[in-house]
């Protein structure tokens, strides 16, 4: 059913017509998008809008990794999940939602936690089909060791990383490891003290804040995948919901001394796979249970 130079089926032309009409997007960018493979790590607050918009806009292959179960206290922000899926795996719920809005793309479910031991296999099928599979990784996780681990994984596998975070009434967004830009460790060579993090995990989040950041993550992934616009590399977006202030700041470039991506970095696939990120950050991959007293 595919024909013509542009490689778009007539169904795709109709479905994506409003994007095809855009002079600065058009057939070429849509065609790039339809060929792209994007992995979203985390089907929670950030992953919900990111996955929905990536599915809707026509990412050819959309993968998702998560090992969590849908719970009622997720529903205030994780809009990809419906009450009917409470108790079921988030990946199963999110994949069904993506397929329901776009049955023409490939949706891949990775129902497991992303860890150093399996990350290269999921992101790039290492060691089987060395360094293929996903083109772009979206970090939509909610904890510190995952952020170091995913960044290192992207350095080893050579993938750009769209990284978002949200907490309380604030959000942050940047693109790592893109086109000679910095990685997460270039910015944060040393993890923060663990009590600086634990306090965070207890302090809640207004649901729409990861909504905004997750949408902006989808946008950055779309820009990279379609090769349109200027991705947010070497810059960071800081979002303060309460005062409706958004600032985009210039951040440092790649560090030559970076232990992950620097000139003398010793990071190999084997070293990565055996690195203990929980010990390094003194915090846990799984989030702490909430304590709420009213």
């Amino acid at each position: 059913t595919y024909g013509g130079d542009h490689g778009l089926s007539s169904d795709a032309i109709y479905r994506y017509s409003r994007q095809l009409l855009l002079p600065s997007f058009g057939v070429q960018a849509q065609s790039n998008l339809l060929k792209s493979k994007i992995l979203v790590v985390g089907a929670g607050g950030l992953g919900s809008p990111a996955l929905l918009y990536l599915a809707a806009c026509g990412v050819g292959c959309l993968g998702m990794v998560d090992h969590d179960i849908v719970e009622l206290n997720n529903m205030h922000r994780q809009i990809i999940h419906t009450e009917a899926y409470i108790g079921q795996p988030k990946v199963k719920s999110a994949a069904a939602a993506c397929r329901a809005i776009n049955s023409t793309i490939q949706v891949v479910e990775h129902e497991e936690a992303l860890r150093a031991s399996n990350a290269l296999g999921i992101v790039s099928q290492y060691p089987c089909e060395a360094y293929m599979k996903y083109d772009i990784v979206v970090d939509a996780t909610d904890n510190l060791p995952s952020r170091y681990m995913i960044s290192d994984c992207c350095v080893v596998a050579g993938k750009p990383l769209v990284s978002g975070a949200a907490l309380g009434l604030e959000g942050q967004l940047t693109v790592y490891n893109y086109n000679g830009g910095p990685c997460y460790r270039c910015l944060f060579p040393t993890p923060p003290p663990s009590d600086a993090c634990q306090r965070c995990s207890d302090s809640g989040v207004l649901g729409i804040v990861p909504g905004v950041i997750g949408c902006l993550q989808a946008l950055e992934a779309i820009k990279i995948a379609s090769d349109v616009g200027e991705p947010l590399s070497g810059r960071m977006l800081l979002f303060d919901a309460l005062s409706a202030r958004i600032r985009i700041v210039k951040i440092r470039g790649k560090s030559l001394q970076c232990e992950s991506c620097g000139e003398n970095a010793a990071l190999t696939p084997n070293l990565f796979q055996s690195f203990d990120y929980e010990n390094f950050t003194q915090s846990s991959l799984s989030t702490a249970p909430l304590k709420l007293r009213l």
């Binding site: 939509a140 909610d142 949200a166 959000g171 040393t190 993890p191 923060p192 600086a196 990861p210 960071m236």
Partner: protein
Amino acid sequence: MKGIAARHLGVVEMHLTLEFGGGLELLCQSVKIHNVEVDPQTGKEKLTMRDLLSWVHANLIKERPEMFMKGDSVRPGVLVLVNDCDWELSGQLDTRLKEKDVIVFISTLHGG
């Protein structure tokens, strides 16, 4: 206030805007934006970020200073921005400050 005393002595003080985010505002009574007057220390003509950090430590941080400082710099996980630009690009602790500069201290977030 240090700034007012300095003005009376005729010392040139500097007007700066300091912003705290990502939870660091909790260390200074949950106030995110502080418009302050900082006087360079006696015998110094220029104010550097090193001077400002010790001024912030002495004047703004009301609790748990170890959540803000480590040694004479900020703790790991804190980004420092001088006029919307990472202080790594302007000389970090040696960055010289000018009148009306905006300095942001923001803790990196990990939630989602």
